[in-house]
Amino acid sequence: MKYSISRILHNLFHNRLLYLFVLASFAIGSGLFIICMNFRSTGERLLEEAKIESSQGLIKIQWYFNGEFDVMTNPEEAEKERNEYPIPYDAYLKLVSNPQYTEDLDILYALNSGVTIWESENLLDFDLYFMNDQLFAHLYDTDRQEGKAYLGEAAYEALLYVGEGIKNGKEFKPWNDVMLYIDGDRLIIQDKSYPYEVIMPKDPDVVVLPVVAAFLTEEELSGELMDNYRMDDAVVLPVEDVFKPAGFPLLMNNLFLRYRNANWSEDTAAQVVKELNKINPKSSFTIENRYLELKGDMEDYSYDMDRWMLIAISILFLSGVGCIGTMYLTLEKRRHFMAVSVACGSTLKRIAAETTAELFLVLAAGGLTGILLLPLLRKLIIYWDWEKLYVSAGGIGIVAAAAVAFSLISTFLGLHAARLKDVAAVLKEE
């Protein structure tokens, strides 16, 4: 064994230039290959995480207006046209009446408007929400009771003041032709009367209803302006009781989807979007969803990485060809020496094992070098900003298997080409 090791090291040294070429090509090929495999395993992992996140969270429906009026040349008409095509109540009703969607999805929906009551020099503002049961449960973490109205803390105080003011003969003027106040244990709004309950969202961090946040910029969502959008001033009514306050051509609204179970399938959500696009042909509805965004990104990235994978496989293939060529050259040179070794007490099997080990050491060194080159290769070929690449054990395993296969095949072919089967005949040659 020790002598075999010394023979292997001796041969490695005496063929170092050839082996350096084999090592370098295998290093580059295996490094690129492992990077590409790491990309795949990272992408799969990120997609899996996004899928879980998506299945647990809300999927927001985004809409884009395909109107006729250009906002630059005719901003008023463009704004009017745009506002005519959100997701109206009728569209929502069509969705919730279709069991194809409601079987897998919760459809969370609300319409929103602002209402103001004027008293002398004071303005009392309320946020009016017509909300379905699913969105209510998501926001307040409790089920809604049928026919009940829910008030934010500030809205309750203000409506109580209006109610008592009316009893005491004070004059209040509704800005939008909507009069609302508390009378005893009832909320009076327009010609309807509701039992009510004061409630705030369970999660203190949820200060803005998603349906409002959908229309806000990042700047508006940050800092001091957040206070303007707290649910303190909310008056939440059932979605079935929706009406338009005067002065508002339509209500702000938005729609969210949520999968009921872990069998997340983008198809059902895509069907909903398709339905909305059919209902509102002037709008383009899409799903804003991290999983789908990531999937789209992955498809873009995959084009580049498939190309690099092809390059990696080509280099590995060339490296394999290099191994065969190297073995052919070195074993042809060693032909007589190998025959003499047999005459001196070695066997062809031992020679084959030593030669295979010799080449495998070169390839193993190449593979390790490729792994050490990973950070550099990553900088060269990956242009997007993933925090890290998860290591694909499969990639390393395939490279190791390639090293073994190249060693065995090259040695076999090299020994075959060296025609060592008849050792005696080789020794007879000059």
Partner: protein
């Protein structure tokens, strides 16, 4: 003692069979110097290869000091060659990238001898063949005669009982050839069994016994 009984060697298959040896029987005593002569293709090198365990007979029995060589596995045969046999070839067959000492030490490595002992033994053997000063020389720096002496030293590495020489002076000039023959005679006098294949009848005459072959058979033996 070497004993061969009815050794037959065929090459090829089916209709393309060549009979290299046709029922050779011979006996070589310990310490004998035997020359095997014959024209090219008579089977003398084939016989030598079978004697040295480098080739296997198709039929027949081969015993060496009571051991049945014909029944040995590849591994046992390799061990037999390593411990019992020393080979000397016409073309020397030294490894160009190894020094003279490293060439001599080759059989010692396969015998599992440690590095230090290999070096020391190689020195002793090179001294024995008169090449102590060429210890670190590479074959490219040696003359033909010196290379053959290194080859002989290599053949002696594991104290073999039998030295097999296939045309040992074939690539040497007359003067170097005589030196090699003198060395072989010296080794034989020390008790080594020497079997030499040669087409040179003058050299064959220096042996104790001469076996003449033709067409795969022994046609004459002369002491």
């Amino acid at each position: 003692m070497i004993e061969m009984k009815e050794i037959v060697k065929h090459y090829g298959k089916g209709d393309n069979v060549t009979e290299a040896l046709k029922g050779i029987s011979l006996r070589i005593e310990n310490g004998e110097f035997t020359a095997i002569t014959g024209h090219s293709g008579c089977g003398k090198s084939t016989l030598l290869n079978i004697l040295g365990g480098m080739d296997r007979q198709t039929k027949g029995e081969y015993f060496c000091d009571g051991e049945d060589v014909s029944g040995m596995s590849e591994r046992e045969l390799a061990k037999f060659r390593n411990s019992h046999i020393g080979f000397v070839f016409q073309a020397f067959h030294l490894a160009g990238e190894l020094t003279a000492a490293e060439n001599v030490a080759l059989p010692l490595g396969y015998a599992g001898v440690g590095a230090k002992e290999r070096k020391e033994r190689a020195k002793v053997l090179l001294d024995r063949v008169g090449l102590a000063e060429k210890y670190k020389a590479y074959p490219a720096k040696l003359s033909g005669g010196e290379m053959q002496r290194v080859a002989i030293a290599r053949a002696l590495a594991n104290h073999p009982r039998i030295l097999l020489a296939d045309e040992p002076t074939g690539n040497l000039d007359h003067e170097n050839g005589e030196k090699i023959m003198a060395l072989l005679r010296e080794l034989n006098k020390e008790g080594m069994t020497v079997v030499m294949v040669t087409h040179d009848l003058e050299l064959a005459a220096m042996a104790d016994r001469c076996i003449h072959m033709a067409d795969g058979s022994i046609i004459a033996q002369k002491n």
